[in-house]
Structure formats: C-alpha cells, structure tokens
C-alpha cells in the first residue's frame, strides 16, 4: 500500500511518454496565431473600418428629417397678398391594413366630406397605396389623426391660394403640382419663389422624441417674396372696366395695360376672358391667354403719331403743314387706301386729330424705308419687351429692304405691322417722357425716375402731344376719352382684323393715351377685340373705358389736376369708386 501511496505522478506512464519538442512549439504557435488574427480583426474593426460600424450603430437610432420650406409670397406694391402657400394635409391609405368598423368609416367619411360608399370603394381597392383625399384643412387632418385609424396615414403638402382670383390671374399665373410655376409671374420668377427644403439628422429616443442634432444641419431656404409693381386698386378698376366694355360691346376679348410713365412700372394688366386660378377645372386656352403680352394685333391708327413725330423730327413737315387728303382715297400701285370720312385740306395736326389714313400715308411716303424702319426699331417694335414674362412676343416688323411703297403707306396707319398691347404702351412712353423710350418693369422699383433711350427731341414730342390732345377734343376722333379736370393726350385705333390673309369686317378697337398731358404720369392702353354691338370705332368703344380707368387711377394716385372741370362737349364720365 505504501508503495502505492508513494506513487509519484512523474512516474505515470502517460507522462513518461516523450514527445518531440516541435509538437509543443507548434501548439504554442497555433495559439499565438489565433490571438494575432483576433487582434488584427479587432484592430480592423475598431480603427481602420471604424466609421462603417459607427454609422451602422447610429442608424439604429438616428433619423434624417426634412425641414420643409415654403414658396415665396407674391404681393402687390402695397403689400396686398396676391399668392400665398398654406400647408394642407393629404390622407392616404394602405387598403390591406385598413380595418374599420362601420361607425369609424361613417365618421371618417363625414370628416372628409365624402360619400361613405365612395370612401369604402377607395379603401377596397387592390393597391398598395391610395389617396383618400388630398388637400384637406390641417384641423380636419388633426381630428382624423386623433381617431388613430389603422392603415390611414397623412402627408403634409402645400396649396397655393390666389385671393384676388380672376382679377390678377394673367399677371400672377399659377402653379401646378410640386410648386412648379406654370404661368405668369409664378413661372417667370420660379427660381426666386421656390423654397428649398433643408435637412437635419437627429437622434430620437425610445419615445420618438428628438434628443439631439447630429452632424451638420442644412437650413431650409424659404422662397423669396416677390413684390410686383401692380397696384391692386388700379388693377381692379382696369379689370372691372374692361369686363364692362367687353360686355357692352359684345366683344370677343380685350386687354388693358396701365403703366407709370415715371418709372415704367406696370401698375395694371388685365385681360378678358380670364379664369379663376383657385379652381382651374375646365380651363380653355382662350381664358388662359395673356393677350396683352402674348398676342399681337395690327394696331391701326394708334401707330399714326410715330410717323408724324418722325416727319417733325426730320423737319420735313411742321405742325401746321397742309396736306391734301381729298378725295379721301389714295392709290399706290394697284391698291387703294381710304379714309372712313373724306376730308379735304388738313394740317399735319388735323391728320392726327381726325385720323386720316390718306394724310399720314402721304407723310410716310416722303421717308426712305430705312428711316422709318429705324424709328420702328428704336421704339421696340419687332422685339420682345423683355419684361421677363413667359411667352412675350415681339410682333412682326419686316426688314425695310423688302418693303413695297404700299406697305410703307399702310404701316404708317398700323396695318402690315403687328405689335402686342404691351409694346404699344412702351412705345407711347416716348410721348410721356419727352422723347425717351423707357424699359417697363413688372416688379416694384425704388421709385426713382428711370433713364431711357432718346428717340425724338423734346420739341417734337411737345408738338405731337398737342396733336394727341386735339384728338380727344371735339372735332377729334375720341371726345369720349376726355376726363374732367385733366388734360388727356391720346390716339384711337380701329383696325380691320386679318383672317387668312384677308382683311375681314371684324375690328380691333383700341385707345392709347396719357395724362395729365402737362406732366404725364400714367399711360393707359385699352384694346377691345371684335366689338359687335353696332359700334366699332376706337373712340366709341375703347375711349370711354380709357377715360374711366385713367380718371380713377389718377384719383387713386392723387395726381394734381391740370385742367378746368368743365369738359368740352360735356360728357360727364360715369365714374367708379
């Protein structure tokens, strides 16, 4: 037993076995190698590839949020809002998730002001996503959210409102889905108006509350507000008067432009027919057209003051040079032009006053074509007015080398040349500004007087202006364009419409004028397309409308009077507020 007790481990036969030395070294090496791999891996994960894991970890509790930015407002010169975006909600559903008891769907339909059957039909659709109703007021949205209905979700989206509706529709335009400007100023200034959403990433806690910002925050950029030159009061006046005139004359369409002669600002721009930008269902192309800017017409006699001014400027005629217009007809080549009333001997001033086609054609016949073309070009005809409006047109002014004598004659009374109403107003700034043509502006300017390019000398303009004053006095073509208390200078236009290359018995009646003539402040142009209620002369159709708009606008602006209150010939203007 003692022997057995004294048994020593070293004497164990197992331990007595002698292994070769390399085996233990191999084992140690393998272990060491294993540790080295582990160390290397952990070095790789924690030092080299650190970012990746950090990001993965963060993504479990980090959220990217979009910070919404709103589209800029459009206001008039006095800050009245013409277009504004306001957030709305859209309700959408995942039909498969929707499980509503009848009472719930009844309540939902009531909140959405929908027919319950239509709601159920939408919720039964075999799609992954359906809009239940878009653009509902946020309060309603909150009440729906409070019902906590499964499968019913909401989005935030913006809706654009136009408080002044059809009155400013053409100038302001409208946006489509996704805040994209489609017409008017909304399109022209899309880049400035558009808001750019920002982004931030945040850490949210278990309860979904934001705990802190991580990383850099990209701040949202709200769209810039645009202040137009438009004056809502004058715009309303122009719009309502135009509507009245189109109604009274059974006309097809019409346009009005009011411009501040000092700054070139467009104070009003109205077209008829128009549309309601808040509800654009069933919109037609005729309603959408911004005629004053995108349509050209043959201006007719409103063109006459320009050749007359050129004649004075070149010293070929004087104010009182006599021109024989008898017998009211003039044949050039194979064509004959005629006056609506035959006159005999007329002075140049009377040619303008009585609007004699023959007279002005004789005057125009004395210029080389190039001289007349240069003047038209200097007045901006044939070039878009570059207001920044979408679809601006330049009208048609053919190069002078192709002019035939008859064309030069007809162009002098505004046929064979086409312009937009906006261009015509701009050309008339030369008479309001002592011979300078000024650029027009859609946006409110700082009120300083703008510089323009000289086309005529001040002396010439003074004389033409007094001819234009004669045109609205008794004996002229537009006594109805007079305004009590103000001196008015203006010119009528009655142009035949071209239809398929032939002049039809359809007319465009227009009037362009400025007041007060002693120190012009406003230029107003009125154009009525196809008056068909018996009258078609510019003086009868557009003249009274001009007078109403001009007198109201002058009063609105507080322009001092420069004439006695008694109107020659006595037509008291029926005035609007």
């Amino acid at each position: 037993m003692a022997r057995a007790r004294s048994h020593r481990y070293t004497e164990s036969p197992v331990l007595q076995l002698a292994f070769p030395a390399w085996r233990s070294r191999l084992a140690a090496l393998a272990l060491l190698g294993g540790f080295a791999v582990l160390a290397g891996r952990s070095f790789y994960l924690q030092v080299i590839n650190n970012d990746f894991l950090q990001e993965k970890g963060e993504s479990r509790y980090r959220r990217e949020l979009e910070i919404s930015a709103s589209r800029g407002r459009i206001t008039d010169r006095n800050g009245d809002v013409l277009a504004v975006s306001t957030p709305m909600r859209s309700v959408w559903a995942i039909p498969a998730d929707v499980k509503l008891v009848p009472e719930q769907s009844q309540a939902l339909a009531k909140l959405l002001e929908m027919d319950p059957r239509e709601l159920n039909r939408k919720l039964a659709e075999d799609k992954n996503f359906v809009y239940v109703k878009r653009q509902i007021p946020p309060e309603t949205g909150e009440r729906i959210a409070a019902m906590k209905l499964p499968g019913i979700h909401q989005n935030k989206e913006y809706r654009r409102y136009y408080p002044s509706g059809d009155m400013t529709a053409h100038i302001v335009g409208f946006t489509g889905v996704d805040d994209k400007g489609l017409e008017g100023v909304e399109l022209a200034f899309q880049d400035q108006l558009l808001g750019r959403p920002g982004q931030r990433s945040v850490i949210k806690d278990r309860r979904g509350q934001i705990v802190e910002d991580v990383g850099s925050v990209k701040p949202p950029q709200d769209g810039k507000d645009i202040t137009l030159a438009l004056d809502s009061k004058i715009q309303y006046l122009a719009f309502s008067q135009l509507k009245q005139a189109v109604d009274d004359n059974d006309a097809k369409a019409g346009g009005v432009v009011v411009v501040d002669a000092r700054t070139g600002e467009v104070l009003a721009l109205a077209n008829w027919p128009t549309y309601n930008p808040n509800n654009r269902a069933g919109l037609s192309g005729a309603q959408l057209r911004n005629r004053a800017v995108t349509d050209t017409y043959e201006p007719g006699s409103t063109m006459k003051p320009f050749p007359a001014a050129l004649a004075l400027e070149k010293g070929k005629f004087r104010f009182d040079s006599v021109i024989n217009t008898a017998p009211g007809k003039l044949t050039i080549g194979t064509a004959t032009i005629s006056d609506s009333h035959a006159h005999g001997l007329l002075t140049l001033a009377q040619v303008i006053q009585k609007s004699s086609n023959v007279g002005i054609a004789k005057v125009a016949g004395t210029f080389p074509p190039e001289e007349m073309w240069t003047m038209f070009d200097a007045l901006g005809f044939g070039q878009a007015p570059k207001l920044g409006f979408p679809g601006e047109v330049g009208g048609r002014l053919r190069p002078w080398k192709t002019w035939r004598p008859i064309e030069q004659a007809t162009m002098s009374y505004g046929h064979g040349i086409s312009v937009s109403l906006l261009q015509m107003v701009r050309a008339y700034t030369v008479f309001a500004r002592d011979g300078e043509l000024i650029p027009l502006s859609l946006l409110k300017s700082d009120g300083s007087t703008v510089r323009g390019e000289r086309v005529f000398s001040p002396q010439t303009v003074r004389e033409v202006k007094s001819m234009l004053e004669m045109a609205v006095q008794p004996g002229g073509t537009a006594p109805k364009a007079q305004i009590p208390g103000y001196r008015v200078a203006g010119k009528t236009g009655t142009a035949h419409k071209l239809e398929g290359g032939v002049y039809a018995r359809k007319y465009v009646a227009s009037f362009v004028g400025l007041a007060p003539a002693s120190d012009p402040r406003l230029i107003v142009a009125v154009m009525i397309d196809e008056p068909s209620n018996g009258k078609h002369f510019g003086g009868d159709v557009a003249g009274p409308t001009f007078a109403n708009i001009m007198s109201g606008a002058l009063r609105t602006l507080g322009v001092p009077q420069d004439a006695p209150l008694q109107v020659a010939g006595g037509i008291p203007g029926k005035e609007k507020l």
């Binding site: 306001t86 408080p163 309303y236 009590p484 209150l565 008291p572």
Partner: protein
C-alpha cells in the same frame, strides 16, 4: 497613497454624475427649443392663413359692393372735389 486614490475615485464619480445630469439638462433644453421652433413654424403658418383671410375679406369687388350697397357711398362729382395745396388748383 491609498487615501489619494480614494479621493481621486470620489472625484471621478462626482464628475461622472455631473456629466450625466448636464447631459440630461441639455436634452431637456433641446426639447424645449424643439417645441418652441415647432410653435414658431405653426405661428408662421397661421400668419400666412390670416394674411390669406385678410386679403380675401379685403378684395376690391367686396369693398366696392359694401360701400355702394350697404353704406350708400358714391364717388364725388368732380365739381365737388377741392384739391388742397401741393400743385392742386
């Protein structure tokens, strides 16, 4: 030596607790800030809606209608207008 170590340990624990409380406070303040910013946004929205409402009530056709029909106002005859000063007659 042991005493110094204990002292440092206590200091470290105090600092750690300080970090915890200040972090907590920071988060509370951050949430308040969030809330106020949210309020600012909703007030901005409300302002826009009020502006919209204002300009809807103040449309010129509506004003003219009320002035003419309810208040029986009309534009004065030119003869009844007296221009005061400033280049007027």
């Amino acid at each position: 030596m042991l005493r110094l170590n204990l002292l440092l340990l206590v200091a470290a624990i105090i600092c750690a607790l300080g970090v915890v409380t200040s972090q907590h406070k920071a988060r509370k303040l951050f949430q308040d800030l969030e809330g106020e910013q949210e309020r600012a946004r909703s007030l901005d929205v409300e302002w826009g809606q009020l502006q919209l409402e204002l300009s809807t009530w103040a449309t010129h056709p509506r004003i003219e209608k009320i002035a003419r029909e309810k208040l029986r106002m009309h534009a004065p005859e030119p003869a009844k207008v007296i221009h005061a000063g400033g280049g007027g007659r």
